[in-house]
Amino acid sequence: MDHPVQTDFLRWIVLFPLLGAAVNGLLGARIQERAGKRMVAFIACAPVTLSFLFSLWAYSRLLGLPAKERFLIDRFYTWIPMGSFSVDVAFWVDPLSAIMILVVSGIGGLIHFYSIGYMHDDRSMWRYFAYLNLFTFSMLLLVTGDNLLVMFVGWEGVGLCSWALIGFWYTDHTNTRAGNKAFIVNRIGDFGFVLGIFLLYWTLSGQGQGTLAFREIAEHVGLLADLELWGVGVATLVTILLFIGATGKSAQIPLYVWLPDAMQGPTPVSALIHAATMVTAGVYMIARLNGLFSAAPATLQIIAVVGAATAFFAATVAITQTDIKRVLAYSTISQLGYMFLAMGVTAYSAGVFHLLTHAFFKACLFLGSGSIIHAMQGEQDMRQMGGLRKVMPATFRTFAIAVLAIAGTPFLAGFFSKDAILWQAWATHNQLLWGVAVFVAGLTAFYMFRQFFMVFFGQCRADHHVQEHLHESPKIMTYPLWILAAGSVVVGYLGLPAFLGGSMLDHWLDPVIHVPHGEHHAVMEEVGVMSVSIVAAAAGVVLAWFLYYVRTPSRDESPEARGFAYRVLFNKYYVDEVYQFVFVGGTLLLARVGAAFDRYIIDTIVDGTAKVTTILAWFNGLFDKYVIDMLVNAVANVTFAVGNNFRRVQTGNINSYLYVVVGAVVVALIVKLRYWS
């Protein structure tokens, strides 16, 4: 790991999508009207495919190297050379980022293709694909950047693209509002993130090792030991700040609120950005800096707890939602919670593993729901659906596989990855968190099957007009579904538990991720733990079967009819309302106060001289007298007031003039004589 292999093709992995974005963004409109949408689509899909191929190339290069030296770097140019602080635009690929680039460009590519079908009727397809490419670029930058600042560029870039894509149909303000919400909430996270970067940089440079490059941070992480700021360990402080950034990007408590609204965007976008890739950036970041985080046990505790809490919280909300995409959104939040739980219990590779599998089945689910919405002509309410399995066989099958996978059916991807996390939680003596996680596993199974049953079984509850037009989606959309479904099955075998031969993934990640080898556990213990989660999942499935298959849901059941708890859950614990009131309201209030201060405060200053001011207002017409900014006017008015009194002396009466003269002389004399005696 000391001698990184210099290459110069990594930059292309990142730059191809940027190229696509540039072409479509600047000329897209023209291209679309000249050469048609196919051309636009091609310009968008080609670069992503190329990046994927280059990623494979990079991957193969890694394979060719001995495990300890699997590390490619491509220094592009020096971005900000500023004395001791010098940042390169450099890309690196190591086992961890290799996985990420494959996921991003791979699944990203699939979703690009899928979008061709999905966005076929949209007028501004070029804009859509420009954003999508730009996003892919930013995401790849995020995962391949070799230092925190470049990562931050990608970090912000994906935020921007998510803003643009959520508000893609900008003529509707609900979309734009959702976009702004996403952006601003992320900004709050970034606020922590940048401060984390600064603190980290200056602490290291205080130790003579100022740097932001991941490798060097990993090397010098020891320097942070027993350094303190404000009575807190610096390592803890840095990691907490960075974690704040992660909660923003990866939708964890308390900054998760933007993700459900983000479903306003086109469904493929939800699949790509809000399920498979962007939202996992926080997880990736922590995994990337695992050395640093391992040095801050306190933070890890927080992360674990936040993760578990989020998982539980989101899952509970998910069981009541009726919007097909919102269910998936909350499920995503919940799954992300799992990943953070994994990070918290230092099961980094397990977390990454879940990230990987989740990318597949969640993307599959979203695309499936997309295909359904497509068929339902934009209808997203599951209460309007039902019995779709006959009309949409391909979607049905792939969706089924994905549901099984996420529900944790043995020997599917979700099962292995989730179980790895659960096991680590147990093994690191976090039984309480483990309990929560197991319960959430049950909930997950429940709400996923609830959705599954509501959508595909029973009678179709949509109105006739919709029913007539029900149809399976075109191949361009179903093929990606199949690929992802396949992935949801096989990917799991990358990370088999120890007693089934051990995890290839752990092995693969070993050079970059320090997996804590806890004390050895008996096989039976592991099996036992595993079986508990299986039981939980099964329970969830059965419950869903009773509630939503046996007694089929009515077309228009209203949450209001249900009990208090149900309503609370349905309204997401009213968190949005609270935030809206406290934070948004608070800020706007502050803003108004500030502006008012600017405009009116001076009034109070002037009040003392208010009389004068009012008396003199009439000849103060020289300048606008009702102008709010009183400071200048106050000065002016007072001066004028005095001036006016001076005028009174000039009465025009010669005697009075002479009085002034003599008076002056006398005064002078008196003063002088006084000051002698």
Binding site: A29, Y77, T78, W79, I80, P81, M82, G83, S84, F85, L149, F152, V153, W155, E156, G157, L160, W163, G167, Y170, T171, D172, H173, T176, R177, N180, F183, I184, R187, I188, D190, F191, V194, L195, I197, F198, L199, Y201, W202, L229, T587, L588, L590, A591, R592, V593, G594, A595, A596, D598, F623, D624, V627, D629, L631, V632
Partner: protein, 506 residues
């Protein structure tokens, strides 16, 4: 030619003004083109200057000296270092573009362009003057044209805005004059030569004056002079208590003048502090920086941002955003480390380009809709896509989005400020959230949402307007991606300035 390049840059616009004055006032287009022609040479020379500038030395370059008033040792003494060159480029570019932004002026065309060119000379002069009297003269030369440009060609409350700007600035500059004279008589032999005064910086007494309140604050001669100069500059920046002239002036001024105001005049405040307060009064700078630069800067950032959020007039919003962004400059220069001070000046440059774009963009829509009420629009993105594209670029740059110029400078500033002022940096960092808040909110209300029927058929942004916006857009992107185009220019000079103060930091 080359040894007088700076003089040419300064006086070419003046020559242009004289030409404009003798042109028949009826020939509007002729006048416009002549003025445009008068701003081209400075731009070319500026680029030439940039190309031939030696970024390795800290000394003044392209120096010109000539005796002016020997009796008082007043010289015609001009020269540039990295700091000035960056500002010169900005001035030359914006002046050139603003001529085209002023194309629509049709009242008193002759007077307008004559005054504009005079203003151009004044601005360029301030950035090259190395003799205090010369500096002051140029400084004041900007005042009158600005007064008339706002006052004659401005909006409904133009007179109020103009006189307010005038009074604020005059107050500042008279204080400055006294400070200059104080330095002059303190120096032995008396001189107005800035470089000599800098060399003497260690001699200015810091022992507290006997007079109240200075004896309480422990202010010496140096502190008092520093304060006098600072107020003069703070008014231009504009720093918190002195900022209220800015919104009015901006709202009333014609587009091009707003651009000049925000793009160049505001920079003169911070330029002056770096060029004069830092090297000449380092001890006082070291003592007063915390409250009057760092704390005030952070306050500017948050306060300006919040005020911007509450505005409903686009120009006012942008104006307050300037207050906020100039706060970064003050905070950065108070950090006294490479990152901070370079970030600060880079921020000056970036703010110059970005805000210029913003004002031009507001001007575009104002020319079409004849109002600037944020809530009075909606869905412009659908009606004027190209225009919306430029706007998005400018907004995101102003928000400090990575890859655009604003990001680099803000990160450098905050990074630089952190080791010296933790708390202030945290407060300042809030700025990134607030800025995103009001920018996005304005964007949503004006450009997104259902298209406003009233403006269904607004004409798309035209070629001339694109011509004024495009170069700035390019700069914003290039500096964001490859900031060294500016940073390399600055480092040597700024670190030199920085060193002078650092030795006095306690």
């Amino acid at each position: 030619m080359t040894e007088h390049v700076l003089s040419y840059m300064v006086f070419f616009p003046l020559a242009g003004m004289l030409v404009v004055l003798i042109l028949p006032s009826g020939r509007h287009d002729l006048i416009r083109w002549v003025s445009a022609a008068a701003t081209v040479p400075p731009l070319i020379l500026g680029v030439w200057l940039y190309a031939n500038f030696d970024t390795t030395t800290t000394g003044m370059q392209f120096v010109e000296r000539a005796a002016w008033i020997p009796a008082f040792n007043i010289e015609y003494f001009i020269g540039v270092d990295g700091l000035s060159v960056s500002m010169l480029l900005l001035t030359a570019l914006l002046s050139f573009l603003c001529i085209f932004a002023s194309w629509g002026i049709d009242k008193g065309v002759k007077g307008y362009f004559a005054l504009f060119l005079l203003l151009d000379t004044g601005m360029t002069g301030v950035f090259v003057a190395l003799d205090f009297v010369l500096f002051y003269v140029f400084w004041e030369v900007m005042l009158l044209p600005m007064y008339f440009l706002i006052g004659i060609w401005g909006g409904p409350r133009k007179e109020y805005a103009a006189i307010k700007f005038f009074l604020y600035t005059l107050l500042g500059s008279v204080l400055m004059l006294v400070a200059i004279l104080a330095l002059y008589f303190y120096s032995e032999p008396n001189t107005f030569d800035m470089t000599k005064l800098m060399d003497r910086s260690s001699l200015y007494s810091t022992t507290p004056l006997a007079m109240w309140p200075f004896n309480v604050w422990g202010w010496g001669f140096q502190h008092v002079v520093w304060m006098a100069l600072f107020i003069g500059f703070a008014i231009k920046i504009p720093a918190f208590p002195f900022h209220t002239w800015l919104p009015d002036a901006h709202v009333e001024a014609p587009t091009a003048i707003s651009v000049i105001l925000a793009g160049i005049l505001l920079k003169m405040g911070t330029y002056g502090i770096l060029r004069i307060n830092y090297p000449m009064l380092p001890a006082a700078t070291a003592d007063l920086a915390f409250w009057f630069l760092a704390a005030l800067g952070a306050w500017n950032i948050v306060y300006g941002g919040l005020c911007a959020m509450a505005q409903t007039d686009m120009k006012k919003l942008v104006a307050y955003s300037s207050v906020s962004h100039m706060g970064y400059v003050m905070l950065g220069m108070a950090a006294f480390n490479t990152q901070g001070i370079n970030g600060a000046v880079l921020q000056m440059f970036n703010h110059g380009t970005i805000t210029a774009m913003l004002f031009l963009l507001v001007g575009v829509i104002y020319d079409r809709a004849h109002h600037r009420d944020i809530n009075g629009f909606g869905g412009l993105a659908g009606i004027m896509p190209v225009y919306a594209g430029f706007t998005a670029l400018a907004f995101f740059a102003s928000m400090g989005l990575p890859g655009l110029s604003g990001f680099v400078s803000e990160v450098l500033v905050l990074l630089g400020a952190w080791p010296k002022y933790h708390a202030l940096t945290i407060i300042a960092a809030l700025g990134i959230v607030i800025t995103a808040g009001y920018m996005l909110w304005m964007m949503q209300r004006v450009y997104l949402g259902p298209p406003n029927e009233k403006y269904r058929d607004l004409p798309e942004i035209n070629g001339r307007e694109i011509f004024t916006l495009f170069p700035l857009g390019v700069i914003v992107v290039v500096v964001g991606v490859y900031p060294r185009v500016v940073l390399d220019l600055l480092q040597a000079s700024l670190n030199n300035i920085n060193q002078m103060v650092i030795s006095h930091l306690s």
